[in-house]
Amino acid sequence: MNYNWNWGIFWQTSPDGAHTYFQLLLLGTWWTLNTAFFAWIIALTLGSLVGVARTTPNKWLIRFGNAYVELFRNIPLLVQMFLWYFVLPEVVPESIGDWLKQLPNASFYTAVVALGLYTSARVAEQVRAGINSLARGQRAAGLAMGLTQPQTYRYVLLPMAYRIMLPPLTSEFINTIKNSSVALTIGLMELTARAREMQEYTFQVFEAFTAATVIYIIINIIVTEGMRRLERAVAIPGYVGGRAKRPSWRQRWKTRQKWRLRRV
């Protein structure tokens, strides 16, 4: 392979004169996390509202929720970003459109909104599934106790549902971090964009992409581990994966050797 490896490239100053390439990648990481974080807040808020709406007895709320989810789920994220970034400023009244176009960091705000709404449809789906997975008696019991419909959600259904939903929500959050890379198409300088920029300046393709890949993996590991701890902390006693403490790896290994079966 006639490729010239140069791992020292990360410590060279980039053409902007102020940062090394390594610092630029870190800057990109910061924007990636920022975008994902704010998008996640939107996604969780709207997704919960829409998800709850889909489980209420109200026919119109259910229809609205279904339409919302179908709309945001069936258009590719990239196209949604383009709609918010290129189309929205043109179809709103001119004064608002001009204001949108002149907004500093427009690609960041656009990415947050687009990614947030896109993910909210997925979160809504999880919230609905989480609430529907609860025994029917829970809602009935809440109402029988004299709680109103919102109170039943607030004190009975949601505290259970959110805890059951944690694992799928974790993977949605990781998806949000990964999906924020789509925002490079509207000019957001997040991690993937920084790696691409580094490749264009230095032609050290594989070093740049390796660094970005490693950073994504590290983020992934941290989020997964953090969420696993949260899961354990709020686990519902008595449920599968509830309070029971996980045996140590040594114990698990011994059990496995003892019960070693031919796996399919």
């Binding site: 179908e70 069936n74 590719p76 179809v91 924020s180 992409f209 992934n220 399919v264």
Partner: protein, 230 residues
């Protein structure tokens, strides 16, 4: 707002959008789904083999693919494939591969990770007795897998596999980052040439929406049908 909306630009570019663009998108989706499913099934079998090096390889592969954004993977393979080609064929310079080949390899390898998780769940959903029964009949591993386990696993997982394919169909729009003329790429090229961003992007969104909605509705119907049979 629609006073300046020019439907003509969509009408004039229909053949370019669908014959050039949509053909690329659909071919890429179909071929990547097929190759991804084959490679994904092999990965799932590796992971369930119980042979540590294969388990480790398959697990590592799936986890790697699932923790990196697709956009980054597209870039990776765009630059990596020529070098791999050079390495395999032993030629003097990196091999030039076309846009289609490059994206096909990317999506097949990327999607395989997701298909492998689905197939793994499918294989594990088959009762253990089936495996034992096949072995009792004197079938070896290969025959058992190809005649007993995999057909059932595949059948159980058809709705999930199809849903994943719809996601793949939407994801192929990301080849935009390599300036490839897929459906979105075609729409975007017309949009920029004629300065008609609003019309073209709204039209592209509508087309994606209709196709994906129709497909996912069909999958849901199929799901209900299969559920009754079982």
């Amino acid at each position: 707002m629609f006073s300046t909306f020019d439907f003509g630009v969509i009408y004039r570019s229909l053949s370019y959008l669908f014959i050039d663009g949509m053909t690329f998108t659909v071919t890429l989706t179909a071929m990547a789904a097929t190759l991804g499913l084959i490679w994904g099934t092999i990965l799932a079998l590796m992971r369930l083999s119980g042979f540590p090096p294969l388990v480790l390889f398959a697990t590592g592969y799936v986890n790697l693919m699932r923790s990196v954004p697709l956009v980054l993977m597209i870039f990776w393979f765009y630059f990596l494939v020529p070098y791999i080609g050079q390495w395999i064929t032993g030629s003097a310079a990196p091999i030039r591969v076309g846009a289609f080949m490059s994206s096909l390899i990317t999506f097949s390898l990327f999607e395989a990770a997701f298909f492998s998780e689905i197939m793994r769940a499918g294989i594990q959903s088959i009762a253990r007795g089936q495996m034992a029964a096949a072995q009792a009949l004197g079938m070896n591993y290969r025959t058992t897998m190809s005649y007993i386990i995999l057909p059932q696993a595949f059948r159980n997982m058809v709705p999930v596999l199809l849903t994943q394919t719809i996601i793949l169909f939407q994801d192929t729009s990301l080849v935009y980052v390599l300036s490839i003329t897929d459906f979105l790429g075609a729409a975007s090229k017309v949009a920029q040439r004629d300065g008609r961003l609003v019309e073209m992007y709204l039209f592209a969104a509508a087309v994606y929406f209709i196709i994906s909605l129709a497909a996912s509705t069909a999958v849901r119907r199929l799901n209900r049908r299969i559920a009754i049979i079982r």
